[in-house]
């Protein structure tokens, strides 16, 4: 890895958005392979995920790292598209109907992007019909459902029922404050994770 990419990895790890942007610009100007720049971003975000799971860093540090990654992606994405480089796996993510909370959902989305998943974010208060339509349109590998409120857990169950009744091999993962492994098993979800970094590991497992 050259010096510029090392700077990029360091900028992602420490959440320095301006450094991330300038290192990406320099790498592109120098004609660095876009895949290598993407690999540097993934390496930086992977390190963030590892330290987050180990309670060495917390949500704010993950957010600044994801923001730094986004500043880099703003420059890199058009080059990736032009080179025909696409993520191997895709995830449709959303907060379930009746629920407007999105901090956790957004964090999971950012971490998935950092692990080079294509993320289709349907936002909040998303109905079973909207998830079904997104499955038909995007044919994702994974659906990720989020809920913060106890009152919207039944909505999560309804959406899982609806997806499982479809002719699809998409995997469903769930998370959010009141959600537990026991609840995930009960409603027929394929996986549950307690935090954004573990959600990435789970998504990888579900895609394998």
């Amino acid at each position: 890895m050259n010096e510029t990419l090392e700077k990029l990895v360091a900028a992602i790890k420490t959440g320095k958005r301006k450094d991330a942007k300038s290192a990406t610009a320099t790498a592109l100007e120098n004609g660095t392979e876009p895949q290598l720049i993407l690999d540097a971003l993934t390496e930086g975000m992977n390190d963030v995920g590892v330290r987050f799971r180990a309670n060495e860093i917390f949500v704010p540090e993950v957010l600044v790292a994801a923001r730094a990654m986004q500043k880099s992606m703003d420059l890199l994405e058009p080059v990736l598209v032009a080179s025909g480089i696409e993520p191997e796996f895709s995830v449709v993510i959303g907060t379930v109907q009746g629920d407007l909370h999105d901090i956790g959902k957004n964090l999971v989305g950012m971490m998935l992007k950092g692990a080079n998943f294509k993320v289709i974010d349907l936002g909040t208060d998303v109905s079973a019909d909207a998830f079904s339509a997104a499955i038909k349109e995007h044919n994702p590998n994974v659906i990720a459902l989020s809920a913060l409120l106890t009152t919207t857990m039944p909505s999560m169950e309804e959406i899982v029922d609806c997806i499982n009744a479809m002719d699809t091999d998409v995997k469903v993962m769930v998370g959010g404050a009141p959600v537990t492994q026991e609840f995930a098993d009960k409603i027929g979800a394929h996986g549950f994770s307690t935090d954004a970094a573990s959600a990435v590991e789970l998504a990888k497992k579900l895609c394998a």
């Binding site: 959440g15 309670n55 860093i57 917390f58 949500v59 704010p60 540090e61 957010l63 600044v64 923001r67 109907q97 009746g98 629920d99 407007l100 909370h101 901090i103 957004n106 208060d125 409120l149 106890t150 009152t151 909505s155 404050a177 009141p178 537990t180 307690t194 935090d195």
Partner: protein, 426 residues
């Protein structure tokens, strides 16, 4: 064991906070915006206890909390009564009540300034200061039971040029009309046998529910939740200075409040800033000690030196690593004591911290047991928590955060009956 003679509710609460054995277990429901009951459950409770049939008043419109009036406080045996702030989170006073039909079909009473609109999908929007000309600051989905804030981002905001003044707009000195409000409220509860609790204004120091400023028509500065969290990583000096300025203003207001209503208040909710997720912290311990602890300490020290109030700190989540910091900050009570979160083992908390900070909450899990368990599950958990936390005082029973919508009323009753059973009243 020596059982003290019968106490008033006020004496019971104060004894428990001060780690003395009260005559029986003290109980709170409805004294704050984090120890309350959703209005739908309040209505069912009023019906259950055969109280006068009338629409429930919405004392806190954001979470749609119902007022627990004196007759219901008596029925459940609650010991604390609130003085609510003069304005709601949406910036309007609760006055001149009118009927409003909720999306789930309940008729409730809301302030005349509670102004809403609906879009074609049935989403409800609420407006700051009741001004429908301003952009809405809260939103309830068609199938929802609560509002959530709408982040209205300042178009001129520049993250490279943060201005303290922008995030200080809502912090000001108590006005004449606020002084009159507090004078009137204090007169209403002076001489009450119940303990009196209130939320302090401006001591929240980064309470995430208040960051988007749903009470302001056009908030400036850092108003996005994620943007705010990033400040703790990126701009700790900015936050520290902002909290210093907020603390300066709050201390002046506390002095005024003490003159007006100091004699009637027993407990002040100082801060609702959540530091915990279900499994971890939002912010590392060193940073909390650097940014929050010195300002908390100034507030708590002033209160302890100048008043007879006890102070209350709320933080959800897995905050065991921060309890020592909260004790060093001078807090008297901790709420809601989320025992299901990582590291929040009831017995461990009582043994390690029980003689140095009081637990206000911890009674029953409102994410699992209370809404989804059986009445017997509720009874067992409540009795277990009472046996763990109550000996020697230092425990005020409350559910772990507000009782949520769709909680079966029989489970709530099972909780109250279990407390009575523990007290030997049943």
């Amino acid at each position: 064991m020596h059982t003290p003679t019968a106490m008033t509710s006020k004496e019971r609460i104060r004894a428990a906070i001060d780690h003395q054995q009260p005559d029986k277990l003290p109980l709170d429901f409805g004294s704050s915006f984090i120890t309350g009951i959703h209005c739908s459950v309040v209505e069912q409770l009023r019906n259950h206890y055969g109280l006068e049939k009338r629409p429930v008043k919405i004392c806190e419109p954001y979470q749609m909390l119902g007022e627990v009036e004196d007759d219901l406080l008596d029925a459940i045996g609650a010991d604390v009564k609130p003085i609510f702030p003069n304005r709601t989170i949406f910036g309007f006073p609760n006055e001149n009540w009118k009927e409003w039909k909720t999306p789930w079909g309940q008729t409730v009473l809301v302030s005349e300034h509670f102004k809403t609109t609906q879009d074609n999908s049935g989403n409800t929007y609420i407006y700051p200061e009741g001004d429908t000309q301003a952009p809405p600051s809260g939103h309830m989905p068609q199938t929802g039971y609560f509002f959530d804030t709408i982040e209205r981002l300042d178009p001129d905001f520049d993250e490279d040029d943060l201005k303290l003044e922008d995030n200080l707009e809502e912090f000001g000195l108590m006005s004449r009309s606020e002084e009159a409000y507090w004078t009137e409220q204090a007169a209403k509860v002076r001489g009450s046998n119940r303990a009196i609790s209130t939320h302090l204004n401006g001591t929240g120091l980064g309470d995430i529910a208040l960051v988007p400023a749903p009470f302001l028509k056009n908030p400036k500065g850092v108003r996005g939740v994620a943007d705010w969290y990033m400040l703790t990583a990126d701009e700790p000096e900015f936050l520290a200075e902002l909290f210093d300025r907020q603390t300066e203003i709050a201390l002046q207001n506390m002095e005024k409040l003490n003159k007006i209503a100091g004699d009637v208040i027993d407990v002040v909710v100082v801060c609702g800033t959540d530091f915990g997720t279900q499994a971890s912290l939002f912010c590392g311990v060193p940073k909390v000690r650097e940014i929050w602890l010195p300002r908390y300490k100034r507030i708590n020290d002033w209160i302890h030196q100048n008043t007879n109030w006890r102070t209350f700190k709320h933080s959800c989540g897995a905050i065991e690593p921060l309890i020592e910091t909260f004790i060093d900050s001078g807090f008297d009570t901790l709420n809601p004591v989320q025992c299901s979160a990582t590291g929040m083992d009831p017995l461990g908390l009582k043994e390690k911290y029980g003689d140095r900070i009081s637990f206000w909450g911890a009674g029953v899990n409102t994410q699992q047991t209370l809404p989804f368990g059986s009445p017997e599950d509720v009874r067992k958990e409540v009795l277990n928590r009472c046996e763990t936390f109550a000996p020697g005082g230092g425990f005020i029973f409350n559910a772990i955060h507000n009782v949520q919508a769709l909680t079966p009323v029989e489970n709530y009753i099972a909780m109250i009956d279990a407390i009575k059973e523990y007290n030997g009243d049943k």
